[in-house]
Amino acid sequence: MSNLPSTHGDRFPELAATVLKRAKALGATEADLLVAEGDSVSVQVRMSEVDRLSKAREKVLGIRVFFGKRSASSSTSDFSKASLDRLVSDTCSLARAVVEDETSGLPALEHMVVDIPDMDMKDDRQLTVDEEIDLAKRTEQSAFSADARITNSEGAECSAGYGSVLLANSHGFVGSYASSSYSLSVSPIALDSQNGGMQRDYWYSVKRKFHELDSPEKIGQEAARRTVRRLGSRAITTQEVPVVFDPETAKGLLGHISSAVSGYSLYKGASFLLGQLGKSIASDLVTVIDDGRLAGGLGSRPFDGEGLPTRKNLVVDKGVLSSYMLDTYSGRKLGMASTGNASRSVGENPSVGATNLFLSPGSYSPEEILKSMKRGLFVTDLIGFGVNLVTGDYSRGAVGFWVENGELTHPVEEVTIAGNLQQILKDIEMVGNDLEFRGRLASPTVKIRKMMVAGH
């Protein structure tokens, strides 16, 4: 942690011990505590001028106390002794007011992580504000230079963030890790000379290591390409056709799987995958893996939000749902062990979250997948939240291209695509070989046998 621009970090273990001791003194039978600290600087440039410069610096402490089977949580950013004392006693009173929950409690001591691996999540490279301004300007300039039809911009953004997390509990466990992230993005706007309308798109790169970021030129050119290709978009008629999701939109499908296999959705009966463990839920081309220990991964962490070791879980194995994603509480509810997927916002109870979740690549190039389509829709952007995770009903706004005889014919907008996720997952008939991690979720290109496209 010594490389972090930390002003408080060194005293966190001591602070944690004091707070836990105080909870114990007030009668708590168990407690755990999370302290997070972060610093970040981000710069937004628009039309080659600095539009916004933001600098953030924060710290927050969250505590959860148990009185037998009763528990409560709270958090504060005020680390003064008086404030923390009040927080602990307020949390203890809160815990006494809720009912007993037989399932509650810390994970057993023997399940806590022992060896905390170094997962290469931190870069020591500090960016100056001027460096960030320069990177953002170059990114936006590259988008403008790439195509004369780019006439406006919502701006380019560069940011660098450094953070650290410490988790401690009344078993005596103390663990911490530090991480960094760097991102660069731009959102150019192109003018449609045909109808006077405008189109906007976006491209980005985000990495834990500064030197792994894509170059400003590469990001700007890709953003420009994605924007101008939307010019001349129009709706199509209502019809049922094959639909290809590009890697960015296919990630959305993985996100829905992730929510549906969360232990909390399952024990609340709020998942379309309820009761499907061990059963076929998708085409046999579908293998989904959640890997919490991917070196340098944006979703990686050495231990989860309860201090259990993270690991690599096979969630869907050749179409068969092979594992849910669980923390201790939701696991107990379902009679299973945690899968190391506890995710934790400071001051909240644990919930479940994916780490680095990806769909294993298949054997087809994206070009081969498009070529396989006689008539269909190639989706490159989605809007809206029309997904019902209880039933699997799916209906979202889509942007993309109409495909005839394997060729992109014209851009498409103002249409919806609809189906039910239970069928959509079974209808995956081609998976691309183009897997690339650009965030916590990653998917190659995916082809769905058919979906309902609504338009004119």
Partner: protein
């Protein structure tokens, strides 16, 4: 209660000293926003209130504006040293770091309106009372129908106090209470499992939920929606007439035109509505306002987060676009009126022009006549979220309770479906507006640039002659 610097253990001279760090000759405007927020949340599932969470957050954000440039920094430590560091960072955007004009507080004002006088602060509601309310909701929702198998409910309160001090010598603050009750029910009939959600709230105290048995009404409504959905058939796919019910379906206005009329996008000319002031963007039946001054509403504020008194802004008058909603930066750069729509999620966030309560004024049609006028179409009364691409103007919003209209009658319920349209066009297709204008129950949260703020919407029953409905059944 109007907060003062002493609520944050701050001295005026220290704050001014820090703020003066940010002033430079070519800085147009500087402000500091000091905030403290206490949130309490209890939630119930499996008939047990087993989660209680409290959070206390405080800090300050300092902003310096020069031309179109904004420098911003925040700290969750209210020490003089940290405030000075923040101010020093904020002025980085100034070209010339010299020429200080010391700031003095010359206008110490209280908000000129008091839109949410509460008899009891939200922080005084006992945990026992919150727990008791959720337990009663569980019983009520289950009693509605034996097919209701799961009930989840949460009650959240937020008490925020803030002060704004700016380089024009203004020092003003507000206390903003906010509460919300949210209920979700799952109904099961054999293998058929469906969900229904309902809730409400506003800048209201605990008594609001007990008056007129409101909380129990919310519980029955969530249960009713889940039961209705058990009988839902496939939604139609394609273009058809759509009738929207009153209240929350006003999310249409929020997505289709509201975001597109936020001043920042129009100053940058990145909105599909850029340069359309004075032009027809809707049928003449449509008059739409944004109004931050409605008492006790979720989207209302006595003053916005820049200290400007909120107002009622005419957005569209009888179909003609009248104006944009603004914050200080954009109003100044565009030379248009300041409307009191400068908002931020918290001290960590920058000011953006945002909606408050956005709604369409009542028309003259009888809602029953509106439905009767449609041969075949969709009648949508409840919605989940929506989203808009402000540049292309395309927007979506997703129905969670909708029915077929067949031969002028509301018939079978249909599964949720997304409706898609083009913002600058969709309201031109409004051919009937009901006399039943209704505001939503107070559950809306708007997201922009990663910041969430509470908002309200409202709508009378309206008929849109054609819209694309994203169902799965060929119509």
């Amino acid at each position: 209660m109007v907060p003062s610097l002493s609520d944050f253990a701050l001295q005026e001279k220290d704050v001014l000293q820090a703020l003066n760090k940010a002033t430079a000759r070519d800085v147009d405007y500087v402000d500091m926003y000091v905030e403290s927020c206490v949130t309490d949340s209890v939630s119930m599932e499996e008939s047990l209130v087993k989660r209680a969470v409290k959070s206390i957050s405080q800090g300050a954000g300092v902003r310096a504006v020069a031309g179109e440039r904004t420098g911003f920094a925040y700290s969750d430590d209210l020490s003089v040293r940290d405030l000075e560091i923040a101010a020093d960072t904020a002025r980085y955007i100034a070209d010339s770091p010299q020429g200080n004009n010391p700031i003095a507080v010359t206008h110490r004002s209280q908000p000129s309106q008091n839109l949410y006088p509460l008899s009891q602060p939200l922080t005084d509601i006992t945990t026992e009372a919150r727990v008791d309310l959720l337990n009663k909701i569980d019983v009520e929702a289950r009693r509605y129908d034996p097919r209701i198998t799961k009930v989840m409910a949460s009650f959240n309160t937020e008490q925020k106090i803030f002060l704004v001090i700016n380089s024009q010598g203004q020092l003003v603050g507000d206390m903003q209470p906010l509460s919300r009750l949210q209920i979700t029910c799952i109904a099961e009939d054999g293998a058929n499992r469906q969900v229904g959600s309902f809730g409400g709230g506003g800048r209201v105290g605990f008594a609001y939920y007990l008056e007129q048995n409101r909380a129990m009404e919310f519980a029955r409504e969530a249960a009713r929606q889940a039961i209705v959905n058990l009988g839902a058939v496939e939604a139609p796919a394609g273009t058809m007439p759509v009738v929207l019910g009153g209240g929350w379906p006003g999310i249409l206005l929020h997505e289709a035109i509201g975001h597109g009329l936020e001043a920042d996008f129009n100053r940058r000319k990145t909105s599909a509505f850029s340069d359309l002031v004075g032009k027809s963007v809707a049928s003449e039946l449509c008059t739409i306002v944004d109004d931050g001054t409605l008492p006790f509403r979720r989207g209302s504020m006595n003053i916005d987060d820049e200290g400007t008194t909120t107002s009622r802004t005419m957005l569209i008058e009888k179909g003609i676009l009248r104006g944009y909603i603004t914050d200080r930066l954009n109003a100044r750069l565009m030379g248009i009126p300041l409307t009191g729509n400068g908002r931020r999620e918290d001290f960590r966030s920058i000011i953006l022009p945002r909606m408050t309560n956005t709604f369409m004024l009542a028309g003259e049609s009888d809602p029953q006549d509106i439905i009767r006028s449609v041969k075949n179409g969709l009648y949508a009364v409840s919605f989940g979220g929506g989203q808009v691409d402000i540049t292309s103007g395309k927007f979506v919003f997703s129905a969670s309770e909708a029915y077929l209209i067949e031969d002028g009658k509301v018939t079978r319920p249909v599964k949720g479906a997304t409706l898609i349209g083009n913002g600058p066009d969709v309201l031109k297709k409004v051919s009937m507006v009901g006399h039943d204008m209704k505001l939503d129950e107070g559950i809306g949260t708007c997201g922009k640039d990663g910041q969430s703020v509470p908002v309200g919407v409202g709508l009378p029953t309206i008929k849109i002659d054609e819209m694309i409905v994203g169902g799965t059944a060929m119509s």
